[in-house]
């Protein structure tokens, strides 16, 4: 055996050791890929929101090509120096493709390094969802149908939530779970995160219905959706505050408490943004009082200010979904589910 053989064996050994560590302890690369996916998805959602705000969805009439070019070969100078609608729509497509590539990378890394089958399934689901989302976007363009844009607007945040979920379940905090006797969170408190998540997503669906309303729909349908959207906003906010209050006396990692604080902060911000969206879209309602300043307000159509407020509101909705997923999964690891008492007895398989 010469020195080259020895070196090859040593290198192989080292690689095996490190791979083994990754598999058993903490699948770092899967986690990193999931972070990258979430970080790619958020700007994608933001730009997607801008596309709807500016009604730029039909700025590129073909798909998957862009004005006859392969999407990736469309001349950058024409794109960057072109009209605003083209800039954001084509940018949205490129960002979407990037998210798709990252999702493919995530699946490859997960299949190689991840041991847990359900996490692999989640990664595959993410890939399926991003492909479906891209297809939906394409069909929306080819069919020129706003109803499909509504579904497209609802799937995007769900995908963002899923990427955050993968990020959490591949993190060190998830892998190194606490022993049962150190988990001091009541299941009822944890269930609040599910309520927040459910309500936040319902809010998002209502919001998508408002943004992509059928042009011939009854005015009273729109009014009802607005009403439910406003009630829902306060319901999510209230549950956020309730969760924070319940967690105040529970001993939790500092990072987790900060995440919950951030969630309530973002929920409060979202209320303000919702109010702002109303004002920049429809003006100050007369019932809010009549002062010289309020009565002089003119709604600024298609201004940067209006577009930014509305899109900020949309993107923050997705951010709430992501934070809710994060808090929900992280709190699940410190929740003592054995304390669930059901009228028909204990859940089978849950240790006492």
């Amino acid at each position: 055996m010469d020195w080259k053989d020895t070196s090859r064996i040593l290198r192989a050994d080292t690689r095996m050791t490190s791979l083994s560590d990754l598999k058993t302890e903490h699948p770092k690369w899967v986690h990193r890929c999931a972070i990258l996916l979430a970080c790619t998805t958020f700007p994608l959602i933001w730009v997607g929101g801008l596309v709807t705000t500016y009604d730029a969805g039909m700025a590129v009439p073909d798909w998957p090509n862009t004005y006859g070019y392969n999407m990736f070969l469309y001349p950058p100078t024409t794109w960057l120096s072109g009209p605003w609608d083209l800039l954001i729509e084509h940018g949205h497509r490129l960002l979407g493709s990037l998210a798709g590539l990252v999702a493919i990378g995530l699946v490859c890394v997960a299949l190689k390094f991840e041991r847990r089958r359900w996490v692999k399934a989640l990664c595959l689901l993410a890939l399926g969802l991003v492909i479906a989302q891209g297809t939906l976007g394409g069909i929306r363009v080819l069919a020129a149908d706003r109803a499909i844009a509504k579904v497209h607007g609802c799937v995007g945040p769900a995908f963002f939530g899923l990427s955050v979920c993968i990020m959490v379940v591949t993190s060190r905090g998830w892998v190194r779970r606490l022993p049962l006797d150190q988990r001091n969170l009541k299941p009822a408190t944890w269930a609040l995160t599910l309520v927040i998540l459910g309500l936040a997503y319902a809010q998002l669906v209502l919001g998508a219905n408002l943004r992509h309303i059928n042009l011939e729909s009854d005015p009273f349908v729109f009014r009802a959706i607005v009403l439910f959207h406003v009630i829902g906003a306060f319901a999510v906010w209230f549950h956020g505050l309730l969760l924070r209050r319940r967690l105040r006396r529970v001993s939790l990692p500092q990072g987790l408490k900060r995440a919950v604080a951030l969630l309530t902060l973002v929920l409060t911000l979202q209320l303000g943004l919702g109010l702002g969206t109303w004002v920049v879209k429809w003006g100050w309602p007369m019932t809010w009082g009549q002062t010289s300043w309020l009565t002089g307000w003119v709604v600024p159509a298609k201004s940067m200010f209006q577009a930014n407020v509305v899109t900020f509101h949309v993107a923050t909705g997705s951010l709430i979904i992501a934070l809710s997923v994060w808090v929900c999964f992280r709190l699940a690891r410190v929740t003592n589910f054995s304390r669930i008492s059901l009228p028909f007895g204990r859940i089978k398989g849950v240790p006492a």
Binding site: M58, P83, D85, P219, R223, T295, V298
Partner: protein, 428 residues
Amino acid sequence: MRYTGSLLLTLIVCVAGCTPPPEFRQNAVEVKKLELQTLGEEEQFAAGQLEDIGSFLTAAFGTPDEPDFPGLVEDDPEVNLVTQEHLVSAAGPVASLEDGEAQGLYREHCVHCHGISGDGSGPTSAFLNPYPRDFRLGKFKYKSTPLNVPPTQEDLRRILKNGIPNTAMPSFRRLPDEEIDALVDYVKYLTIRGRTERDLLSILAEDPDPALDFIASEEQFEAADEAIEAAVESGDEEPYPPLFGPNDVVDEVVFPQVDQWFEAVDSMTEVPQRPVELSPGHPDRDMWIARGKDLFFSTGACVQCHGKLALGDGQVDDYDDWTKDWMKTLGIDPAETERINEFVGLGAMPPRNLIPRNLRLGNYRGGSRPVDLYLRIKNGIEGTPMPAAAVSLTSDDIWSLVEYVRQLPNESLSQPAVQQPVNERAPR
């Protein structure tokens, strides 16, 4: 796998629901109103006659995706009230070309409030106050022309650019002039289409004989002529000839409206120079403003609606013409919920009292320039209880009123109350 794409598409369309292209809606409120006025509670116009009107409107004005306008001259666009180019860029679904040219402007900027048919009942309209304008009545509030005369191109352009403060009507000042003009043309198009429909329904209501062919095609006319000749020869009772051909409707109903729009510029109200006595610092200024105040309470009769303190708390139980058009015409009491709901179900907006402007806030929906206030007082505000100035009021009188109104926000009564130390104990 070959069918996976098709299956996916079918599934998505099933879940999302395929959206058919939008269509102009029949003015069901007007139909119901005229039926109640002329036929009675249980009777209705013959479906065929209403279809005649619908078919004529489609033939003459096209559809929301492919609009048309009667009598457009292709070779000389200058003689047209609206241009086909503007209609095409304003109509249809929202899109934009690679060079940035926008299409579907009306659906991008206006349809959510004003609706596809321009009936003011778009999806967002129910919670807006005031309700979005229903163009079909042909009335516009803020313009430089007298009552019952259409606004000028510039009037509509100004409203689109400046928006209307304290309402949901936004300012489109960021849109290029070409797009503003396209929207103005489309508003004219919807107005004339809507008024044509109303006029045809009124003609139908004058003679609602179901046996009558209301609007017939050339072929139907020829067939009717033959039937009449045959009846004469055989000595039978002669059938009625059709009332109108499409060209008759265009000549007698559409073109007179087009002429009115063309002539609006000639009817613009002349605004004389503001008297020098009203310039800031002039010794007689206060006297002229006091004269305006007198007129506010006397000949001007402003006090009746705007109230003694000009807070807009005078007459607050009146309605605008869009509500009165069906509610007051039929003598429906606002408390008759069932009857009101019947009309709301047909597309009318629920009645809402029109509150006069609080003049102490210093903001006016039709514009805050002195000339805007002059025009509002001189011509009134169409579609609202705000009347045109009495004939006896001279231009100097109107300018005095304008200045009196303009200084109202500066009066001490209009300023926020200063907190008084009411509980402070008097020194012993």
